[in-house]
Symmetry: C2
């Protein structure tokens, strides 16, 4: 996959040393996320909608009801901005103004396209579910024509954008290191709790093996 070339809108300006444009860094941040925030414009007004997403090769995808305002707007190919952010820690410094957050984020710019062909749409949705829960797609009640028709899948090429990452310790002014206040990092993680079976299960109540480790989604098991 090609690395991204910084553009006027994608170049990380503030704290540019935190910016990255190589495909592997961007993909590694996208691949452990579940929710993105999609930005779009209607009549000059920005909207930011949280939604699930997934990556395949050099595209990201998201989906939803065909009636969704967000999807109906974006399927026209208007400008979109898709942002993915992971909170990794709270950074406590000696000065209030040097406090920070450890994070990994990606901001992508582009225009989405709708996956029109039914077979391609179904394969994309299968990839989405299989990425989360390998093997589950085959266990499910098969999709109906009506379900597929009622769902819109949008894709966007990963062509323009950037990653921004902060890791590590507080960066205090040199003369502040003698100030006697606690400083350091409080790590934050997304953690899954034990799966809760639906009360109306007819099969085994024990959760399937693919729920034992969701580390590929950036979710730790407690």
């Amino acid at each position: 996959m090609s690395d991204l070339i910084p553009t006027q809108r994608s170049r990380v300006k503030r704290l540019h040393e935190r910016g990255a444009y190589d495909f592997d860094t961007i993909a590694s941040i996208l691949d452990v996320g579940l929710l993105c925030h999609v930005g779009y414009v209607i009549d000059g007004q920005p909207y930011v909608t949280p939604t699930a997403y997934w990556r395949e090769g050099n595209h990201i995808y998201w989906h939803g009801s065909s009636a969704s305002r967000m999807l109906r707007t974006l399927e026209k190919g208007v400008g979109a901005c898709v942002t993915v952010s992971h909170l990794d820690g709270l950074v406590l410094a000696r000065s209030g103004f040097n406090h920070s957050i450890n994070y990994r984020s990606v901001m992508l710019f582009g225009r989405a396209h709708k996956i029109e062909e039914e077979g391609a749409k179904l394969r994309a949705l299968e990839n989405f579910l299989q990425r989360m829960f390998p093997g589950r797609w085959q266990e499910l009640r098969p999709p109906t024509k009506k379900e597929i028709k009622a769902t819109t899948v949008l894709g966007m090429a990963i062509e323009e954008g950037s990653a921004k990452v902060r890791t590590g310790w507080p960066h205090d002014d040199e003369e502040d290191y003698s100030w006697p206040v606690w400083a350091g990092v409080v790590p934050v993680r997304a953690v899954v709790q034990p799966p809760l079976p639906d009360e109306r299960l007819v099969g085994a109540k024990d959760p399937p093996a693919y729920l034992a480790d969701l580390g590929h989604l950036g979710l730790q098991t407690k």
Copy 2:
């Protein structure tokens, strides 16, 4: 505080039963978050920037370097959309299309204003830090004129917007409940790990008492 009146842009259209407009619901979602996603428009192109935020009364605030493109755009009073989302769980249903996510989200529309007066700006930043770590502000190296000047604080009234919340079990089609696949919910939580002291601490290495419980920030202690 006043409840919000749904407007053309803030009314929850898809799955409208998940929507809420009362101030208490909106505030309860905002108050346990750290990161929002701010949407704005430059030359017709949407941008979505993740940043820390806080609430005081019926305003939300966010801040950053005075040189930030996001802040310099929004301080002009152009249309903004601020979205806060908490991921609460993965919902596994009997049909792929009934899979869902449990979440709490708020989408706010408005125009930001810059806090110009130095004293008001400093009080806002003090409130931000004290909300996270009660008592810490007084322990820190006091702010300098230069730090205050280099920081922009924006506020936006909580006047137009909505909350959207999904909780609970999968909603399968009635005839699918006999399908013998595991279904249920995998709860997801944001969890803090033990604080890591900076190597250059001159005072006590033990973390301060206000780090023992960050539940008010939606962060559980492992």
